[in-house]
């Protein structure tokens, strides 16, 4: 099926705070989507919902036609802004972990990416610099042949060299059967990789548009549009 993600009428509230309200959208296969919003707009919550770490208060989310749960975890690869490894692990342990639990893990791809990212299998994960840890996170997430990749701030706290490598990796490993949703604050470099952007503001979806259309119709870059939309935030 060509729709890989279907989000319908999602409401999410914690105690007294509403994180998301009335969010609905669909995403087709083979697209790179930028999920944009200021802090507290609900981006991370949305990703956690799609990844299955949290449950919606109401509404439904389907990945590849299946409701989020055990089955979708097999086909969704989530890279949060928190490390996905355990302190005792070396890089090769982290890779083994992924290989053991995820049937879609591509060991050859992992090896390729590890050398591409200049990582060393024998290094202890805890001894890696922040930039190297980010590269490892991304390697693990992208080494899976998932239907949907959720990348939370993949180029966030990372030096420009690593950033370039990560953008390279995203383009290099693009696959028309899978889609990528990523969040970022640094739009200038990365907006060229987006097909569409979705903008969230205070928990509501305010825009979902094709990026070239934004440029053509509004004569603006996504970066500029972002600044306009979130000016008061």
């Amino acid at each position: 099926m060509s729709v890989v993600l279907e989000v319908k009428d999602i409401h999410k509230s914690y105690w007294r705070k509403t994180a998301l309200s009335d969010v609905s959208f669909t995403i087709e296969r083979g697209k790179v989507i930028g999920l944009l919003g200021s802090n507290g707009s609900g981006k991370t919550t949305l990703m956690k919902l799609i990844a299955g770490l949290t449950h919606p208060t109401s509404g439904s989310i389907k990945v590849g036609g299946a409701t989020v749960g055990h089955d979708t975890k097999r086909i969704v690869s989530y890279m949060p802004d928190i490390p996905l490894t355990e302190g005792w692990m070396k890089v090769k342990d982290a890779v083994s972990f992924y290989r053991d639990f995820y049937a879609d893990f591509d060991h050859a791809k992992a090896h390729e990416m590890i050398s591409f990212m200049r990582l060393n299998e024998q290094d202890r994960v805890s001894s890696l610099s922040k930039g190297m840890q980010e590269r490892l996170q991304l390697t693990l997430a992208l080494s899976r042949n998932a239907s949907l990749y959720l990348l939370d701030e993949p180029i966030g706290g990372v030096d420009p060299v690593a950033r370039g490598k990560i953008l390279d990796a995203l383009v290099e490993y693009y696959n028309p059967e899978s889609s990528i949703i990523l969040t970022t604050h640094l739009l200038t470099d990365i907006e060229r990789i987006f097909d569409e952007v979705i903008m969230l503001k205070q928990g509501k979806l305010i825009l979902q548009e094709d990026v070239e259309t934004i440029r053509m119709k509004r004569g603006k870059s996504v970066d500029e549009l972002f600044k306009e939309v979130y000016a008061e935030c």
């Binding site: 697209k31 790179v32 383009v171 060229r192 097909d195 070239e212 440029r215 053509m216």
Partner: protein, 128 residues
């Protein structure tokens, strides 16, 4: 390689770039052009955008797909001349408009252009 302006559609910018390469001769008739993946990788842009560019170029006849072999610049000289004229036309259009806004009359524009081309040509070593 290319300095992209994020305020304008990227696929159009790639198209302009490729057309220029063709006119100038960097990409000759019947030359093979990079694949979608290669170009996307090189320029760090979305493969779908590159695909769109190629589709447009194909539509305009500038590029043709040869089954199983890839994409090639057209061998039709007339089409290439056509592009050259089209791009020149755009430049001229902008120029004349700009000059008219400055208040120059048509004959003034022609003589200014004539002088300018001559001295530019001397700079380049065109005319003895």
């Amino acid at each position: 390689m290319i300095e992209f302006d994020n305020n304008l559609p990227i696929y159009m910018q790639i198209m302009s770039y490729l057309k220029k390469q063709i006119i100038v001769g960097k990409l000759k008739p019947s030359d093979k052009i990079p694949s979608v993946r290669e170009l996307a990788s090189e320029l760090q842009i979305n493969p779908n955008t590159v695909q769109r560019t190629f589709s447009e170029l194909e539509r305009e006849g500038i590029v043709e797909t040869r089954r199983g072999l890839g994409r090639y610049v057209t061998s039709e000289e007339s089409i290439i001349m056509g592009i050259k004229k089209e791009m020149a036309g755009e430049l001229i259009e902008h120029f004349i408009q700009g000059m008219q806004e400055l208040g120059f009359a048509s004959n003034e524009i022609i003589s200014i252009v004539s002088d300018a081309v001559e001295s530019k040509g001397e700079e380049r070593g065109d005319n003895p």
